[in-house]
Subunit: 427 residues, 2 copies
Amino acid sequence: MTLQQLMDRRDRALGAGTPLFYGNPLHIVRGEGVYLYDADGRRYVDMYNNVPCVGHANPHVVEAMARQQSTLNVHSRYLHEGIVEFAERLVALHGLAIESVVVSCSGTEAVEVALRMARIATGKRGIVCTNATYHGNSEAVSMLTRLAVGQNTVRDARSFPFPEMYRPLLPGASETELADAYLASLEEAIRNLEHDGAGFAGLIVCSILANEGLPDIPRGFMARAAAMVRAAGGVVIADEVQAGYCRTGQWWGYQVSGFEPDIVVTGKPMGNGLPLAATAASKAFVDAFRANTRYFNTFASSPLQAAVGMAVLDVIEGDRLRDNVNTVGSYLKQALLERKVRCPSIGDVRGHGLFIGIEIVKQDAEKTPDVTRTIQIVNRLKDKGFLTSNAGALRNTVKIRPPLVFKRQNAEAFLAALDETISELNG
Amino acid sequence: MTLQQLMDRRDRALGAGTPLFYGNPLHIVRGEGVYLYDADGRRYVDMYNNVPCVGHANPHVVEAMARQQSTLNVHSRYLHEGIVEFAERLVALHGLAIESVVVSCSGTEAVEVALRMARIATGKRGIVCTNATYHGNSEAVSMLTRLAVGQNTVRDARSFPFPEMYRPLLPGASETELADAYLASLEEAIRNLEHDGAGFAGLIVCSILANEGLPDIPRGFMARAAAMVRAAGGVVIADEVQAGYCRTGQWWGYQVSGFEPDIVVTGKPMGNGLPLAATAASKAFVDAFRANTRYFNTFASSPLQAAVGMAVLDVIEGDRLRDNVNTVGSYLKQALLERKVRCPSIGDVRGHGLFIGIEIVKQDAEKTPDVTRTIQIVNRLKDKGFLTSNAGALRNTVKIRPPLVFKRQNAEAFLAALDETISELNG
């Protein structure tokens, strides 16, 4: 069967327009550690996938999965030690304010829980988010996707311009003035919700603004934003689906960005590919959510999720992957910052740990985003055996987010391929 | 650790009020086939769980799961034959009108997709459901839960009284008159949506009205309802999360109830415990959904879901479990109908295949539901080693929904325990 035949079958069975990566899509058949292999046996360094955080086909995870599935896998209305132990371990990864957790199957489901929890806790409905975010695909969550600032067509949500240093709201302002300006926008969004009747329930934000393009955030903004939200009677929801689980070199993105959330949403890396997500908060918040919703989720809080979830935590802790993230991430970011100096098309290099964005711009004074070139780079890197994607608010950021087992030698090989690519594209 | 200590830890870690079955909750540690075992080594016949449809710890499923997880498990934006093949097999289980499928992780997610698909297809928002239903736990879906007839507080949904023969809307009416009466209620709900501005997008209904209590439905109602929905410009969504996958002795509940859906939602049994769900429809519907939403689901349409999903289909087909459902289900229902004649507290026995409800009533002329006795029966059956629950619109129905591998000997043992229980409770 040719690639085209497989694509045709896929279009019929899954619908035309089912998302696919790359100009020439990859037909992947096998993974191991940080590597993926296509149907022709070609090896790729996976620099995109955060879900298989402890490595593709990690044997410890496979064994835990098989052992639990061959022992017991039932819903959560029976008592089971594993799921209690897993929940306790999750909670212990946060500060003392986070006490209990609602487990679910996807980031979308976990954000649904967080929004309902915030609304129950406050008795209000309105949610503030940034103007270039994505938190999930359900109806209540997808209304937050790239919501324009000032838009009043959606009753329950308002956005504010995400804080950034590279294309600042006030060009030429100091970092403090810039933080003030973004805080004023946040305040306006909150007031807007209060005045039109929905009321203000809380702020949801990816702790490191991943979908926005990992911008450098004006110093102090996040802590001051959290204080503003609480002063307005709202709660702070940290979306750690991408930011959490040692991705940044800290356990949680909110540690990097310097604020304390009331509700924490986690997902992608938790199960190394098994659907698994969670919403953690104070016991008072979780109890109120339980009492108000009688929430039950057939596949969640299962012995299988617990066993696999704990196996992932075991590997992260046992193999000291956070240290690896810090070491390799620092090396890679430093090397990319050097290239920013000498390559005119690299407008900015940002991020934390093993989550780095390279912003590609035209060679002009306006930092004009160059999406075409970004896509060219991503496709050429793929052809050279390195998997990335283009992302960010303007889609002109090369997104680097490999499994946490990504090593220095992988980074070195990638840098060589990147240099070659940039040279081919004349800078 | 005592049961109470485990329950206290659970309350702290997962929140007070996290749902638990039975007066004295079960601490389950192992499963095999149709059996579950508690921490004291006690064996229970599982007569509740439809998720492990091919049996707890089914070795074929475990092997497929371990093999795929140790080979490859990535998101769906790469080409992968398994997920295409699985989608093709799912679609082939329906008639020709069902052509494509959107895979997700839970019934809730699959219903979210179905509602958004119906709204995109029609350009309208209003959904009609029954007044005693449950379709999922997200914000947009949970608004359908037990929505009262005539309620206008929810803009996008209206309910109508679910059709039934046991407590009919018009006492003394003929079956045809009764169908007419329920159809008039459905029509009123549709008109109500059309007149208040939301418009009518479609009807969502469990094909066998499982949460309503598996009522006998007036003959012809479902086909006539589907025709009425289409004549009003709406689409028919069959929720087959409980009804599908041979549960009724047919592949799909809509075959038993005699109608053709436009959109089919499946979930629970698909992955034998792996989170896996799907929304199937015509290619035109799925294409329009894809084009309008750019829907992507991180954990869904994965090689793991495909491999496990196909292993479940292999076992259902290879072990001829549909035949088993028909044989054992008929035996059990017949035996229960005999008990209905001689036990005054058994008001009704209903259902299809291996999904049977026993409605428990007081010994009066009004068929007064006896929830207390229903719970007593469920708890006593548990103590005798048989796991059921109480369900239905009035919570007075003993719900029997075992794995599809439930055998005649299990049914015989259950009947003995039921007879004993009823005798203990004096009829």
